[in-house]
């Protein structure tokens, strides 16, 4: 064996670990040692964990780098490690059949990684690894060479807008806080991430926690906050663990703490664990929660920059927003602004999920078209079904139809068609998705997560949900549609906070683009065949071979028949679970 250096990187984000990343890691450690490779190559041999690189569906992903030649493997299990070591590391021949395929490269080729640049690349538990990729350079520059106003000016010029949902210009927010005189100011990193399906903030903290800490320190220094909080949900144990570790390391190196880098500036960060209420991501509710109150929003104004935590000027920024900061300082405002569209600069991370082939976490320049995202990066629709719509912005967003696939993904364009960028959820729907059902799903979420403070949201979303339920079981009427639309609009305009104001969006947008599907339900049909109550199962006596599989599968005994003779289905007993449809091998169970 002649290799001079061996580096092995194992994906150990939450997704990687769930797929067995820690077992793979252990296998590498012990088998490299047993094979004497560690001793052989000495310092040039390393195996370490890295954060998520986005394509969790192919976990465990492993990079093997021998003398600067990198090969990436997919779906690795611990029992495959032996062969990797034998053939690739010792024998010098990569194991072809386990290498990632074309779709892995397609997934990555059209992405531009700023926030996720080092996630999946460096060991998130090592501050030295972060420093090795220019980490904390930006903080040093800001603390030693830039006046606070200069830093704020750079962020303003970069055009960075908040990634937490509303897209408020970050530099402008910082400036407002800077101008507020106060003996105490705070910076809060919002890592509550409650949108169902969104996991970019978790991945950033799991994969590169120091970038967020550095972003916070830069903000704190520029507008004069001495205490920071990271509000993170307790359901993210790995992110919390890595965050605590990173904070300790940053304190040891004096990037946090007293007299940071000899500048006389003190700043430290506390961690506040959230209990998983979606509404606690709303900034005023989040502040109440840190203060020990129930997480309920209050009306704005006053805005947190004027009166926030404990009544003091407070900047709240999203994880991804903050993780952009060091890169902007390092590379300049112009560099950042070179990505994106006129009013939406830089990149945005999306959680691409649903019926796409490659689901996962992606980072794209603002302004990339939906078509590129879904068909190039995402690899198209699963099982080559027909694309129907893409839902962006999660429970606060809306859906976008096929004829708008060439739409640029940026704050303005999505808003124009009744959706939002939001926190970056992107759910691809195909012909099997019923749009009424999709709207119902999101409304179930917002209704159960409503804080209960205001009437339109607490009771309004409940009534909306009840109307949708009525429609999906085929009992809706034309008046219900009128009522649905009117109430949705009233809830939107009268609710107190963003949760209630945006909760009707999935309803309004599906009503706008898929009214025909709603109308079909009124006639007792679900075109996507997703609403159980509207389906009728029948057995085609000609095609039935009498194998009896459906009979055994039916939980209510609705199917009867003798062996090798056509079976019969009793509609009275049928509960429409679809078990017969799924089990029949001869396509003789029909569904209408």
């Amino acid at each position: 064996m002649s290799a001079k250096s061996i580096e092995i990187m194992v994906c150990m984000g939450t997704g990687g670990i769930a797929a067995g990343g820690d077992l793979v890691m252990d296998a590498f450690y012990s088998q490299l040692k047993a094979a004497g490779l560690e001793a052989n190559v000495q310092k040039g041999c390393s195996a370490h964990k890295v954060g998520c690189r986005g394509l969790c569906a192919k976990d465990v992903l492993v990079d093997v780098i021998v003398d600067d030649n990198k090969a990436t493997y997919e779906y690795i299990k611990e029992d495959m490690v032996e062969r990797l070591i034998e053939e690739h590391i010792k024998g010098g021949k990569p194991v072809e059949e386990w290498l990632v395929k074309e779709d892995y490269h397609n997934f990555h080729d059209k992405q531009v990684k700023v926030v996720l640049a080092d996630c999946g690349n460096i060991d998130p538990e090592s501050i030295d690894a972060y420093i090795g990729v220019e980490g904390y350079k930006a903080q040093e520059k800001v603390f030693k060479n830039l006046a606070p106003t200069e830093t704020i000016e750079i962020i303003k010029e970069s055009g960075l807008r908040g990634r937490g949902g509303a897209g408020f210009p970050t530099g402008f927010k910082w400036e407002l806080c800077f101008k507020n005189e106060s003996d105490q100011k705070y910076i809060i990193c919002n890592a509550d991430e409650g949108d169902p399906g969104a996991f970019m903030d978790r991945s950033v903290i799991e994969g590169n926690p120091h970038s967020v800490i550095e972003g916070m320190a830069i903000g704190a220094f520029s507008f004069g906050a001495s205490i920071g909080y990271v509000y993170i949900r307790a359901e993210y144990p790995l992110a919390v663990e890595r965050l605590y570790l990173a904070l300790d390391q940053a304190r040891q190196k004096n990037f946090l703490g007293k007299n940071i880098l000899g500048t006389g500036f003190d700043f430290d960060i506390k961690v506040k664990l959230g209990a998983g209420a979606f509404v606690c991501g709303e900034e005023t509710a989040l502040i109440a929660s840190i203060e020990g109150e129930r997480g309920m929003p209050r009306a704005k104004p006053p805005f947190p920059v004027n009166s926030g935590l404990w009544g003091k000027p407070t900047v709240i920024n999203n994880v991804e927003t903050l993780a952009n900061i060091p890169a902007i300082i390092r590379n300049g405002a112009e560099w950042f602004a070179s990505y994106g569209t006129e009013k939406s600069k830089g990149t945005k991370v999306f959680a691409l999920t649903g019926k796409v082939k490659n689901s996962g976490l992606i980072e794209i320049p603002m302004g990339t078209t939906l078509r590129t995202i879904i068909f190039d990066i995402g690899g198209g629709i699963e099982n080559d079904k027909k694309f129907k719509a893409v839902q962006t912005g999660g429970p606060s967003g809306g859906c976008i139809t096929e004829d708008m696939l060439d739409l640029n993904v940026d704050f303005e364009s999505l808003a124009k068609v009744g959706s939002i960028v939001g926190s970056g959820g992107m759910i691809v729907l195909d012909e099997d998705n019923c749009m009424v059902d999709v709207a119902k799903y999101f409304l179930q979420f917002t209704q159960s997560e409503s804080c209960g403070k205001c009437v339109p949201c607490r009771i309004g979303t409940k009534r909306l949900l009840e109307i949708l339920e009525k429609i999906t079981i085929g009992e809706g009427t034309a008046e219900d549609l009128v009522r649905l639309e009117k109430l949705a609009k009233d809830v939107q305009s009268a609710s107190l906070c963003g949760l209630g104001m945006t909760a009707p969006n999935p309803v309004l947008s599906t009503l706008k683009y898929f009214r025909d599907e709603y109308e079909a339900h009124l006639e007792g049909r679900c075109p996507a065949k997703a609403c159980r109550q509207l389906l009728t199962y029948t057995i085609d006596a000609e095609a039935c071979t009498g194998c009896g599989a459906c009979k055994r599968a039916c939980p209510t005994g609705a199917i009867t028949g003798e062996k090798k003779k056509p079976h019969a289905l009793d509609q009275e007993l049928c509960v429409k679970c679809g078990a017969c449809f799924d089990t029949c091998k001869f396509n003789s169970v029909g569904r209408e």
Partner: protein, 347 residues
């Protein structure tokens, strides 16, 4: 001062005034439900929404501070629609059984339904149902009637400083309750009952012995329980007190303690002493005030002569005013000649 226009009318108010207060000062009515003038604005009911030029969404006037040049509209068609929707939503989750409710004469929900002319309701659906009754001795809590305005939570926290109740759960299941939904166990001051705009909170002893055909009256008086002298209003029917309330206009701003608010049954108690008693032999015998006072003076004098002034001590009552207590110590020191004087509040 800040200048703004409300419905085209120019209004001038001090800085930090809310739009609602500014409107009311100009004689403009905006319906409210969760707002209470002595509590921090909550902003939850959304009935007080108004339109402000250049703000696309509706804002709650009870929480929004005025700003220079602001142009406010409080009576547009859109606002009427939205307010009606809010009322209908509230009523769709309220047991509209007013005939069986003891708060009909004092219910903001009822009043607003009339004011906003909400006579039909297209919204129906699930209603909250709570079977368990709170077993505390004073306050009846009908949480199905609660509209979650939050006034009780605020008053308990901000005024009473107790924090015995708060919101629990989320979504449609949200409710106000004591910790772990146990029975209420607090000071029972009833501040929450006083501010509740619906029949959700009532005194358990209210309305006992209602009479037919007897005039209802509200009699302003002063609570006799202590020297603080809170103003109270006795709601009476004939000779019968149906409940005690307190007015926000009086110096105690409508706040009372458990005794003043709920401890009124003594007034008509058969065990209540109404005449002085002197023990004659083994019996306590009713006597006139003349006789009682003469007897007391005589006994004090005799004791003082025989055993000396310091064998006598005086204990005053917390139910006396400061002035009465002052006079009492003056009497003990000047007339009786002893410093042995104290007050029951020290016990």
């Amino acid at each position: 001062m800040v200048k703004l226009t409300i419905n085209g009318k120019e209004v001038q108010v001090p800085k930090d005034t809310t739009v609602l207060v500014a409107a009311r000062s100009a004689g403009i009515t905006i319906p409210t439900l969760c707002y209470h003038p002595r509590l921090k604005p909550n902003g939850g009911c959304r009935l007080c929404v108004v339109e402000v030029k250049n703000i696309p969404r509706l804002v709650s006037s009870c929480t929004t501070p005025v700003s220079e040049g602001m142009e406010v509209q409080t009576e547009t068609a859109r606002l009427k629609e939205v307010r009606a929707t809010i009322m209908k939503l509230l009523l769709s989750d309220h047991p509209v059984e007013c005939i069986n409710c003891r708060a009909t004469d004092d219910c903001a929900l009822h009043e607003l339904t009339m004011f906003l002319e909400v006579h039909e309701n297209e919204f129906t659906g699930e209603r909250r149902k709570y079977d368990t009754r709170d077993g505390n001795p004073f306050i009846e809590r009908n949480m199905e009637k609660c509209i979650l305005c939050g006034r009780c939570v605020s008053v308990c926290e901000e005024v009473q400083g107790v924090g015995a109740i708060d919101f629990a759960y989320r979504g449609f299941k949200s409710k106000v309750c004591p910790p772990f939904e146990k029975d209420l166990d607090c000071e029972f001051c009833g501040q929450c009952v006083q501010v509740c705009p619906t029949g959700a909170l009532l005194g358990k002893m209210w309305d006992r012995g209602l009479r037919l055909g007897q005039e209802k009256k509200a009699v302003d008086t002063v609570c006799t329980y202590c020297g603080t002298g809170c103003n109270i209003t006795l709601n009476v029917q004939g000779q019968n007190i149906t409940k005690v309330t307190a007015s926000e206009r009086h110096w105690n701003e409508g706040w009372l303690c458990v005794k003043g608010r709920f401890g009124y049954s003594f007034v008509t108690s058969p065990e209540r002493l109404t005449e002085p008693l002197i023990r004659k032999g083994k019996e306590l015998v009713e006597v006139s005030w003349e006789e009682a006072l003469d007897y007391t003076a005589e006994r004090l004098k005799a004791t003082k002569e025989k055993h000396g002034e310091d064998t006598i001590a005086g204990l005053a009552s917390a139910r006396c005013t400061n002035e009465e207590n002052y006079l009492f110590q003056k009497f003990m020191r000047g007339a009786v000649g002893t410093n042995n004087v104290d007050h029951c509040a020290r016990l």
